[in-house]
């Protein structure tokens, strides 16, 4: 477990950075050193660190200022101040600001060893405790994935089964079903969880760009390569790489990818030295890869490498019993984000939602709820908030006359506001009497 602990060293003396990070590596920790406050803040923003060994006195942003920022960004990270004898009062002050402890330079190796061991053991207990509580109380949730339906419970089981392994996972499912969420859930529960999670959408990039994105390039590898750039595989070293839309990559890149999976090493574009990597690969696709293999568009050997374990995410229309809890989850999420007080979905709106076929899956449902919360005050999500309802109500033929447009618009606004006359009149900027007259004139009736 100790190998999992990640320690960031922050000291303006390069020799301290080097010696301390070397020693920590020998001690089986994962260590990285940075030489100033802004770099430390950036490192904590980018990655998770269990412990930060922070020098109190540094030019520019001093240790105290760095501590304050670190505690805001990552309050769970343990910060140990390193200080000279003369600055002990400062270190004590730092403990009041949230530092775990301080250690005097030059460091006592035994004291530091015992301190780090104690912190790691404590953090392991906290992690285990959180996991146990999570399993007990949130049986319908796995990380950010929600579902009580049988197919989703099976998905959760699959995720749990693969988290403790290093197995390559292929996630299949229609667009919007949450494939990246599953990949993140696997990563954040796996032995690689302290390493980076690097997601790449293979379909979004042209072939040549994808290659340089995945494998990086050496300076001068091609016109415009004015510096050496690390690829996604290198950036993901020690963690997980998630290749989305893997079914869209070209045959040429497929061969390169296959080689990486076989040899666990690769070369940057224009490079000669092989770079060894220790990365877990999770890929996803909304395509039928077996059909793609039959058509010669996807290599079967790569497919078998990617497909060690498959997790299939069902479309939302096949797990409609999850729609109410998903809606509740998104209402909570966007209430917090937009400071609103929505608390339910209107019964009729829910009927529509349960009838709808959701081609955009969970992502579409999330967008619908978000839009409702953005444009209205609540407390209910109503039929008028459902764009697919409005679409279905709009006649196929475009209205020709101003009168037709007026009728359709009034009808739409009344539906959206659940036939609240005062509110609709206010939005239309007409008085209530005029609205009543128009309802009568156009023969509008409230649909049950």
């Amino acid at each position: 477990m100790k190998e999992d602990a990640r320690i960031l060293v922050v000291d303006d003396e390069p020799m301290v950075c080097l010696a301390l990070s070397n020693w920590l590596e020998e001690e089986n920790y994962f260590a990285r050193a940075v030489e100033d406050g802004p770099k430390a803040v950036a490192a904590v923003r980018e990655e998770n660190w269990d412990i930060v060994l922070l020098d109190l006195r540094m030019p520019g942003m001093d240790g105290m200022e760095v501590l304050k920022q670190l505690k805001e960004i990552a309050p769970q990270t343990v910060v140990i101040m390193m200080t000279a004898y003369a600055s002990i009062p400062g270190a004590v002050q730092a403990m009041k600001e949230g530092a775990y402890d301080y250690i005097v330079k030059p460091l006592d190796v035994d004291q530091l060893t015992l301190m780090l061991n104690r912190i790691v053991e404590h953090q392991q207990l906290i992690t285990e405790n959180i996991l146990l509580r999570k399993r007990l109380t949130e049986q319908y949730e796995f990380e950010d994935i929600i579902g009580r339906s049988e197919p989703m419970q099976q998905v959760f089981e699959m995720i749990r089964a693969v988290t403790d392994t290093n197995a390559t996972v292929l996630i299949t499912g229609e667009t919007g079903t949450g494939k990246e969420l599953v990949a993140r859930a696997i990563h954040s529960n796996s032995p690689q969880r302290y390493g980076p999670f690097v997601a790449t959408s293979c379909g979004a990039l042209p072939d040549t760009l994808l290659e340089s994105e995945l494998f990086g390039y050496e300076k001068g590898a091609f016109t415009g390569a004015d510096r050496t750039k690390k690829g996604r595989f290198e950036l993901a070293n020690g963690g997980t790489i998630f290749l989305d839309e893997v079914g869209d990559i070209s045959m040429k890149t497929q061969i390169k990818l296959l080689r990486v999976l076989q040899e666990r090493s690769f070369r940057r574009l224009g490079g000669t030295d092989p770079i060894e990597i220790d990365v877990r690969l999770i890929s996803a696709t909304n395509r039928d890869l077996v059909t793609a293999i039959e058509k010669g568009a996807f290599r079967s050997d790569l497919y078998y490498r990617l497909n060690v374990v498959t997790i299939h995410l069902p479309p939302l229309r096949e797990r409609k019993e999850d729609i109410p809890i998903l809606a509740a989850h998104f209402i909570n999420k966007y209430n917090v984000e937009f400071h609103k007080n929505f608390d339910r979905v209107d019964r009729k709106a829910m009927d529509f939602m349960l009838d709808y076929h959701w081609p955009g899956n969970v992502r579409e449902l999330e967008n619908v709820i978000e839009r409702a919360i953005v444009i209205d005050q609540g407390p209910e999500v109503k039929i008028g908030h459902l764009p697919f309802c409005n679409m279905e109500m709009v006649p196929m033929e475009e209205p020709q006359t101003l009168e037709e447009i007026e009728r359709l618009h009034i009808e739409k606004m009344l539906t959206r506001n659940d036939w609240n006359i005062a509110k609709t009149a206010r939005l239309l900027k007409i008085d209530r009497t005029t609205l009543h007259k128009k309802i009568k004139k156009f023969g509008l009736e409230r649909r049950q």
Binding site: E13, A19, L20, E25, E27, N28, P106, L107, V109, D110
Partner: protein, 189 residues
């Protein structure tokens, strides 16, 4: 013709008795299966003395050892009797270049309490020096600290812990060392 580096050199630096050096050499041969040569004594490493701390900077000693390394030296182990420190720690028993070539150890802190007999050179000091030598050389072969309390690669908090562990590798560290050894020789040939 270029000579393949295959020896582990033990380089005495100061007041270290021949009996200690021979015991260290024997233990290294036993653990690593490589021939050991004891180099001439280079004397106290005065160039590494930090006047303010009255201690000797192990990094500077390592640098000098590497600079003077014999071409057939696969690894070099400095053995001294002076008090060592490095830029971060108040003192060190020894220091090694992780996956590198050089290491240095000192008998100074291994003597323990000056009131007991070990200062006079009774067996515990020899045993501690052997363990420290194997431990630091282990780091040069890429071995990290081991959780097995009996293994020589375990990090010992204090001399009591150091005395409890054995002067050889646990099976896992031994396998790892042999693997690194093969890679190391292969790369340097």
């Amino acid at each position: 013709m270029k000579r393949n580096p295959r020896f582990i050199y033990v380089v005495p630096l100061g007041d270290i008795g021949d009996a200690y050096l021979e015991a260290i050499a024997e233990s290294i041969e036993e653990n690593f299966g490589l021939p050991v040569r004891i180099a001439p004594n280079q004397g106290i490493p005065s160039y590494a003395l930090d006047v303010a701390r009255q201690q000797y900077n192990s990094n500077l000693i390592l640098q000098k050892l590497l600079h003077q390394a014999a071409p057939d030296g696969l690894k070099i182990l400095g053995v001294t009797n002076v008090d060592l420190f490095n830029p971060i720690f108040s003192y060190v028993f020894g220091e090694a270049q992780f996956k590198g070539k050089g290491a240095v150890i000192s008998s100074y802190r291994l003597m323990g309490n000056p009131d007991n007999d070990v200062r006079q050179g009774c067996p515990p000091l020899i045993s501690r020096l052997e363990k420290e030598a194997i431990h630091e050389l282990g780091h040069t072969f890429g071995l990290k600290h081991c959780p097995d309390p009996d293994c020589v690669m375990q990090y010992s908090v204090g001399l009591e812990c150091a005395d409890r562990k054995f002067s050889f590798f646990c099976p896992a560290c031994r396998d790892l060392m042999l693997w690194h050894l093969g890679t190391d020789i292969f790369l340097t040939v």
